[in-house]
Subunit: 209 residues, 2 copies
Amino acid sequence: MTETQPTAAAAEPGGDAAPVRRSPVERRILAAALRLFAERGFDGASVQGIVEAADVTKGALYHYFDSKDALLYEIYHSLIARQLADLDAVLAEGLPPREAVRKVLTGLILSTAEHVDEAKVFSREWHRLDDARMHAVRADRRRYHNTFRALVEQGRRDGSFTTPTPADTVAIVALGMVNQLPRWYRADGPKPAADLAAEVADFILAALD
Amino acid sequence: MTETQPTAAAAEPGGDAAPVRRSPVERRILAAALRLFAERGFDGASVQGIVEAADVTKGALYHYFDSKDALLYEIYHSLIARQLADLDAVLAEGLPPREAVRKVLTGLILSTAEHVDEAKVFSREWHRLDDARMHAVRADRRRYHNTFRALVEQGRRDGSFTTPTPADTVAIVALGMVNQLPRWYRADGPKPAADLAAEVADFILAALD
DNA sequence: TGCCAGAAACCGACCGGTCGGTATGCATCC
DNA sequence: GGATGCATACCGACCGGTCGGTTTCTGGCA
């Protein structure tokens, strides 16, 4: 697995950041797997069900993917890659901490709301991966957390934020809300995702002040 | 911590109010189920594995419990019952909103840290319950959320809190952090749970101000 | 106290079914 | 004629749950 460096590529928030070339069959398989994993969980979704939903045969699935685990990993990876790309893009703008935190948070919430299924699967079953893949996922997650924490830390150092709360705890609270979002969020809910994102960002920034 | 005491557990929607008496065998089964569910997930833990860990036979397990689902529900129910009892106890003290919020939050975080396994299983697999049991669990969860939200709302109305953030969003952020906690928290981690609880409560209260 | 009958607690081999994964055949295209 | 892109048939492992039977407990009666 090639490590994703803080590349300046994909400065398109919320967009598809993966340069992976997929055949139509692969895309159908991944879409079906995503839907079924989100609906019934990883173990609850059978390979047979996935190939039927994707209208392919088992042979086709195992031609493109090594295992059921591999499907799960592809879903995780595309999600994290997008989040990291968005994060790097905001950091590259060199905004003052307050604006940077706001932009990162609202972007993350909007992107999570837009890809609820990926996020739901991710937050629920990432522990089912084999050791190697889990390690890769964990490393990416940690990088996101650490980068966000560093952003808050920088704001505290330069006086933008006066909160006594350690940056790590701030990250735990802010990112915790985001990771929990796919459990209850519905696109047809009463409050638009943009409103929610703004409210949460304002709330966190108020605490940081 | 001991079981839920005979304290008058307030109006409990759809649940039995019986003060569950458990035989040693039942307790061993539940403890083993909890450990294995937390370790390998609901589907990943087989009934066979549970009875071996509990050192009982399958017949004994199905003598006491209707199904594998029933085991899961018992775990959920004991956790929620404890949380609701704690919440009600704090509310009964009639503290001013600021102190009440602090006490509820720190108590919830400490209790979650103390019962990480229950919380981990809960946050990960509550969707696997059958419809009836899921409904019961959901109702209890909603009651917790709504009560907490009402507490914040009251504080906003009487001027204790001046934040413009809707109480519902506050609950989403605060409780989101708690629900996410079992994913990363380790009892032997660098920061004691009490410190974490205090930091988070301070942070949220700072935002509410 | 001794005895016994019925109920509760428990045993574990076994069942039908599903699961992830494999082996192999066979067009199509370079 | 090999590599690619599938289709089809099939496998052994294991799963949650059942069921007929056995052991242990309990209370009433002599």
